[in-house]
Subunit: 328 residues, 2 copies
């Protein structure tokens, strides 16, 4: 909604005053802002009304791991988009624990939050009933659809294909994965996608080459060590996300395994960690800023009265750095 301020050529604060009516705005300015809002497809009146009817101005962003910079970047983007509407984002870290996830959904209902944006980790569809019963809009950011909620989801097929191309061109044949836990919501869609695409490259990804763990640095180290004991030893390891990949790098250094010389490593997300480590992590970028922007737009449309379910696909991109072949 920084878009509105830009389109109208006014400050974000002015847009906010027009919407909230909290301060007087010159009639001409008001018309310019209202036109900009309408041009961008929003109806200021319904959004404002939904916020006046006893709702709080808080949007909860519920994530499984706030120490993963991907989610911090998502929070920043969501907040930037929502602030000119007078909405405030508060971030809830569930530590991937289902009871914590449910507790935050209950809080959202009790406090009459304006909306929820959530990356579920162990929730199941029925856990969302409390929100829909209370009329609180929810946007899900996840790899798979989730009940009747609006969805922001990656389009990662081309990026994974590009990763597999580089991996196979580098002569790697024994592909393995450090995947997420078995009981996570939807299993691990990143594993399923990798497996189906790997088959097209003539490389299988059998169950014995998949280890599972939480999305943590520690689990990445443990999972990588287990893979390195398999013979023939895997020579390319895909990871559930960048945090897991960095745990794998810790362990490779400890074991004296050269990356990428002995083993190629591929992360997921391109969180800020990925370009800090040496060698720089080759990864699949899922742009957190775009995810936040899409989630904000879906939420605003809901507050604006849209009733049909929508899905937005955000394109992922293969980022070649230094952990598949020696890079810059």
């Amino acid at each position: 909604m920084a878009d509105v301020a830009q389109a109208a050529g006014v400050s974000s604060a002015t847009v906010s005053y027009v919407i909230s009516g909290k301060r007087p705005v010159a009639e001409h300015t008001r018309r310019v802002v209202e036109k900009a809002i309408a041009d961008l497809g929003f109806s200021v009146n319904t959004v404002a009304r939904s916020l006046r009817t006893g709702r709080s101005s808080i949007v909860a962003l519920v994530v499984p791991d706030l120490s993963n910079p991907f989610f911090a970047q998502l929070a920043a983007s969501l907040q930037e988009e929502l602030r000119v509407l007078g909405l405030h984002v508060m971030v809830c870290d569930t530590k991937a624990d289902r009871e914590e996830e449910r507790a935050f959904l209950r809080e959202a209902v009790q406090q009459r939050f304006a909306g929820v944006v959530i990356t579920p980790f162990r929730l199941v569809a029925k856990d969302f009933l409390v929100l829909s019963e209370a009329g609180i809009p929810a946007v899900v950011s996840a790899d798979l659809p989730f009940g009747d909620n609006d969805l922001v989801t990656p389009d990662a097929r081309a990026a994974i294909r590009a990763a597999l191309t580089e991996v196979t061109e580098a002569g790697r044949r024994h592909i393995a994965m450090v995947a997420g836990p078995r009981d996570a919501t939807g299993g691990d869609p990143r594993l399923n996608l990798l497996r189906s695409l790997a088959a097209q490259f003539g490389t299988a990804l059998p169950g014995r080459l998949v280890v599972r763990g939480e999305h943590t640095r520690e689990a990445g180290a443990v999972g990588f060590e287990r893979l390195m004991r398999i013979r023939p030893r895997p020579d390319a390891v895909f990871c559930a996300n960048d945090v897991v990949a960095i745990g794998a790098m810790d362990k490779a250094e400890e074991l004296g395994i050269d990356i990428p010389g002995d083993v190629a490593l591929i992360g997921h997300d391109d969180a800020s960690f990925a370009s800090l480590v040496r060698p720089r992590l080759t990864t699949v970028r899922y742009p957190a800023a775009d995810v936040g922007k899409a989630a904000a737009r879906l939420l605003i449309e809901r507050l604006d009265g849209r009733s049909v379910r929508r899905t937005v696909h955000v394109k992922a991109e293969f980022i070649s750095r230094g952990t598949v072949r020696t890079g810059p």
Copy 2:
């Protein structure tokens, strides 16, 4: 408050049920838990009562930069400590903007939050009046006292002295600093502390060797570049925090300046970034987990009826890695 569960030899969930009364607990178990709570200096009844009197169970953690892993770690620790009391932490990222900081304080009042833990960046003491008038306890985590609020603050003198010892033993004489912005709350206490201790080492820190900027990676790069144009060129650069230091490392690589060969670099906080970069960042560890624990305890005591102001000092520690002399 994981302490309570441990002392009582029961699960955190059981402690929570005893406090909230939401589920029945065996009489014996209840007595054990209540004794553990009392032994640790808390009164379950007053805490529970304050939460029943129309207060929400939300504690807002208000921070200037959620993309700094220090604050993500602080959030995790605070949450861990407060959850057994049935309190939920929601994190508010102000982007170091005073209007955002004030907006979150107003939200805390409107939503009748149970408490606020805050690292103020541009707030001034009178901005806190809305909280004290509403009877909402606030704990400040900052380098300097802040009005009448409880305070968690670093005790960093010994750590900075150790840093200066290593820097001077490495033969460095031209010490400089990339400090925080001039208009931040309290100026930059880290600059003042460094300056007063540097004098004891016979090295001055004149104004021309101090550059200022936001606590961001970009500002770190810009600040470092400005310092590198000064003649004689600084040979040791202290940074306001690790994020700033990593920006300085980006720029050093770009300019072909060797760290630590040409310039020694010292961060602050030991956020998770610090051990990821190569060379690993020498820094002053301010343990986020201990800060969160102390803040939780101060907040619980306030909910428990304490009325006098308290300050907790958390010891910082010098962590020698590879950016002052070549390290492991």
